[in-house]
């Protein structure tokens, strides 16, 4: 386990470093992305010289005037080797070193756009996202489990439900969310739910807060549940059907157990393996939020933080958010491995 954690940490560091270097080298943050060139009527248009001066000052304040990495490569000089690029050593005064040093001290930097520490932005956005992604993930997993068990018993309505699930699976999330909005929050149809936001929960506590939150987050949660449910259910149901063809099931039947008892007490544990991978995938998704849902329902969570940071080229925020998701992804792999070992003791024995 320790080896796995160390390998994962090293992988996370390498991936984060690659993202850092690629993002900054592909498009250096310039005035355009930080508002200096933005067309704003009523404000004075800067001349080219003023823009250049402002850009230099901005880059200097943000530390972007420094070289990107410890070394850089430039075109070979005429005297030197014909094909070998020239290596220029920059020492520790580079952007990567500063970023890595800050990160090791637990600091993710400061947003270019508003000067707020990235950790604070993440700490604000993450709970808002978890507020609807965690219940949605739990509800989807629970519903998938219930539905798959019922479907595995091959009731008469199984083909209808399976077809419906496939149909649901084919609907993209943005369309599903819009459909829910147009049906359940539309003055022309039903106005059961609010169209956007999380409401004003100021001064609310306990049951009132819960009711208010549920009222505002019901449609976003429903969108996520409906989009996650088909995949989980169909996979689990298929795995259960496979298990039901095994010899031990025949033995159980011969012993007089009902199909429900067989599924719950025998086949479910074996059929759950494919589901573990899918559930492990839910963890980073839960943290990353769903950009589409957050945009459509105007929810300020991790998804929007990420997409806004990418649009504005706010690298510290972008990297901070990606780092959190990256860690979640690696943790989910570790947890999935552990879950496999618990579910199947044979794996534990083979690794010891």
């Amino acid at each position: 386990m320790l080896r796995q954690i160390l390998t994962s940490t090293l992988s996370a560091w390498i991936i984060a470093s690659i993202i850092f270097l690629l993002s900054r080298s592909m498009s250096p943050a310039n005035g355009e992305s930080l508002g200096l060139d933005e067309h704003m009527p009523g404000t004075t248009v800067l001349t080219p010289a003023q823009q250049q001066a402002a850009r230099q000052q901005l880059q200097s304040r943000l530390g972007l005037h420094q070289p990107l990495f410890y070394f850089s490569l430039s075109a070979p000089t005429s005297r030197a080797g014909m094909f070998l690029p020239r290596l220029i050593w920059h020492g520790q005064a580079n952007q990567y070193h500063a970023w890595a040093e800050d990160l090791l001290q637990g600091q993710m930097g400061i947003s270019y756009r508003n000067g707020v520490p990235v950790a604070d932005l993440l700490a604000t956005a993450l709970p808002r996202t978890l507020l609807f992604t965690v219940p949605a993930a739990l509800a989807a997993a629970a519903l998938a489990l219930l539905l798959a068990i019922r479907l595995a018993a091959r009731p008469w309505w199984r083909p209808v439900v399976l077809h419906l699930l496939v149909l649901l699976d084919s609907i993209p999330l943005f369309l599903l969310a819009l459909l829910l909005l147009l049906v359940l929050a539309n003055p022309d149809v039903l106005t059961w739910f609010p169209a956007y936001g999380m409401g004003d929960a100021e001064g609310l506590a306990g049951w009132d807060w819960l009711l208010n939150t549920a009222y505002y987050l019901m449609l976003p949660m429903l969108s996520l549940v409906l989009v996650t449910l088909p995949g989980l259910t169909v996979q689990l149901e298929a795995a259960l059907q496979r298990e039901l063809t095994m010899d031990y099931v025949t033995t159980a039947r011969a012993k007089g157990l009902s199909i429900r008892q067989i599924i719950r007490q025998h086949t479910l544990r074996n059929a759950i393996f494919p589901l573990l991978t899918l559930l492990a995938d839910l963890l980073p998704a839960v943290l990353a939020g769903a950009v589409v849902v957050e945009v459509i329902f105007a929810l300020p969570g991790m998804g929007r933080l990420l997409s806004d940071a990418a649009t504005a080229r706010d690298y510290p925020v972008l990297l901070g958010a990606l780092l959190v998701i990256l860690v979640a992804r690696l943790v989910s792999y570790i947890l999935a491995d552990a879950a496999y070992r618990i579910a199947d003791p044979r794996l534990q024995q083979s690794t010891t």
Partner: protein, 573 residues
């Protein structure tokens, strides 16, 4: 178990369905597409931030948008301008009634302090440093603390508005120890950011967290009550506020709604639903199809009033004049004739736009050159112009002309535009269709916004489609058309310009006399139409939907198109 769950679900749905919210009728709720990010008055991050900053802070001058004129705000009157040699002097007097929230008077020292904070190193003030570099010093009046003169570089017409267009900050709250008084205005330009005095001031100033608009530092009529990042910003009216003492209240000092809130709804569909449900009162830049939908709905019309004031946003097509294929004006004119602009306006703007022959709006009767005709859709004229330009159509319908290098040039073009914009996409497709009929291949290149800017600056394009946003107060086209504004730092992407046009632009930028400015502008418009470095396709309107609860909306062509501080609740009959 399942029955229990379903019952719970139904009960919950019914419970939730019964919820309703009531809002006071005189509060104004405005839809914003995104968070303003920062409300720091020196950063001016975007147009939304400026709208909010203007509620909490005040500058010496303001723009009376409905009447399109500059008016005094904190100042008692427009500045008195005096010129001597290469120096200009702009003298102001602050309104005697103007005070900070704690009752302290707003003085010339506050103006000087604000200018210094905009020049101080290591603060997020790069735009301000660049903009206000023309102010050399401030002459204070020992006899009158509210009287002062800005000593500036050689006069330019822009200085009148610019000299009074910055949020004034209180020195006694942000620099109680007067640390910045040790520096002159010019001295701060070269001050070392590491010097103990500067570092101490920067530390203290940063602690004020102006990004979050803490409220007590602005003299404006509103205070930020709450800011739920990414959700909403609520501004509450200050009571009492110093502007209330001025009777009758001039338009810039009107602050009627007790509360103005901005609701951040990124998605247009959701915002439209929210408007129709009555969750928001104002939706500006309403997509044209929604505007038409509301216009045809009698039910919605009872609650929502629709407006489409002019805007200063022009959609243009630019030509890379440095490319051999587009180096001559006849070819550029020919390509311009392949845009069917009335169809574009109908299809992409649902009629909410109008044609123009130049960069000046045709509704600006004074400066618009009405002797010019807008570019007409005419493939036949395009063919003639191409032939005049030396292009010869080949048997395979393609166009070629000899080049001085000896190799024949082929007429094949690429059009670049911001990806994801349906109007640009349609315009580019229309050009490709019409040009294709003549045998001119057009390649479409939708590009991500900031990459597109980089490509335009580097001259890596043939044609581009983009919006230009102007205003009625500035006729300085130097950054857009001067030959010195090309390259990485300029806005002259077309590469247009020669000694003659540069001289015309420089003269226009310095023109103070209205008659002279009118003559120069008309000349410039003629030159631009002849040379066609860029062609205006149309000027957009700003479709607006506002709740019928309100009257006196202060509609104008300047974004956001309305003045929320003026909104008056309509008396019910």
């Amino acid at each position: 178990m399942n029955r229990y769950l379903s019952t719970c679900g139904v009960v919950l749905l019914l419970l939730l369905g019964c919820r309703s919210e009531t809002q006071p009728v005189d509060n104004v709720r405005i839809r914003w597409p995104r968070d303003p990010e920062t409300l720091h008055p020196h950063t001016l991050a975007n147009a939304l931030a400026i709208q909010a900053i203007n509620l909490t802070y005040q500058s010496l001058l303001a723009i009376d948008a409905p009447n399109q004129r500059i008016v005094p705000w904190l100042a008692e009157a427009l500045p008195v301008v005096r010129q001597a040699g290469n120096t200009s002097y702009l003298t102001y007097h602050i309104r005697p009634a103007a005070t900070w929230d704690d009752g302290q008077p707003i003085t010339a020292q506050d103006i000087l302090f604000t200018l210094k904070t905009m020049r101080c190193p290591n603060l997020p003030n790069e735009r301000m440093r660049a903009t206000y570099g023309f102010v050399r010093s401030v002459q204070l009046d020992s006899a009158d603390a509210r009287h002062f003169t800005l000593v500036c570089d050689q006069f330019a017409p822009d200085y009148v508005l610019t000299s009074g267009d910055f949020a004034v900050l209180p020195e006694h709250l942000l620099d109680p120890k007067h640390q910045l008084r040790a520096f002159s205005l010019k001295g701060l330009d070269s001050a070392d950011a590491k010097s103990p005095v500067v570092a101490a001031f920067v530390g203290r100033f940063s602690q004020a967290r102006l990004e979050q608009s803490p409220g007590k530092y602005g003299s404006g009529p509103y205070r930020l009550k709450s800011w739920q990042s990414g959700q909403r910003l609520v501004f509450a009216r200050k009571k009492p506020w110093w502007g209330d003492k001025i009777v009758p209240t001039p338009a810039p000092l009107l602050a009627r709604p007790p509360q103005i809130s901005f609701h951040i709804i990124p998605d247009q569909n959701t915002a439209f639903l929210a408007l129709r449900r009555g969750d928001i009162d104002v939706y500006s830049s309403l997509p044209a199809p929604y505007y038409q939908q509301l216009a045809s709905s009698a039910t919605d019309q009872k609650q929502i009033a629709l407006f489409a004031p002019d805007s200063y946003e022009a959609v243009t097509v630019g030509f890379n004049t440095k490319k051999p294929v587009l180096a001559d004006r006849l070819t550029r004119q020919a390509i311009s004739h392949l845009f069917d602009i009335p169809t574009l306006i109908k299809a992409t703007q649902q009629g909410l736009a109008y044609q123009s022959a130049s960069l000046i709006s045709p509704h600006d009767k004074h400066y618009y050159n009405d002797s010019l005709a807008p570019v007409a859709f005419s493939p036949a004229r395009a063919v003639k112009l191409l032939q005049q330009a030396g292009w010869q159509q080949q048997p395979d319908k393609s166009w070629k002309r000899p080049h001085r290098t000896g190799q024949a040039l082929s007429l094949a073009l690429t059009i670049s535009y911001r990806a994801g914009d349906a109007a640009y996409e349609f315009s580019a497709l229309q050009l490709r269709t019409e040009a294709g009929k003549l045998g001119i291949p057009i390649n479409l290149r939708p590009t991500e916004s900031s990459i597109l800017t980089q490509q335009l600056q580097a001259g890596e394009f043939d044609l581009y489609l983009r919006s230009l946003i102007g205003n009625p107060f500035a006729h300085n086209f130097l950054p857009l058309l001067h030959s010195g504004s090309t390259g990485v730092n300029g806005g002259n992407y077309t590469g247009f310009g020669n000694a003659s046009t540069d001289a015309l632009l420089t003269e226009l930028a310095a023109a103070q006399d209205t008659v002279q400015k009118k003559q120069l502008l008309r000349r410039l418009q003629r030159v631009l139409q002849q040379e066609s470095p860029l062609t205006v396709l149309y000027f957009k309107r700003n479709p607006l939907a506002i709740s019928r609860r309100f009257t006196d909306l202060g509609l104008s062509g300047l974004p956001p198109g309305y003045e929320a501080t003026r909104f008056l609740v309509q008396q019910q009959p």
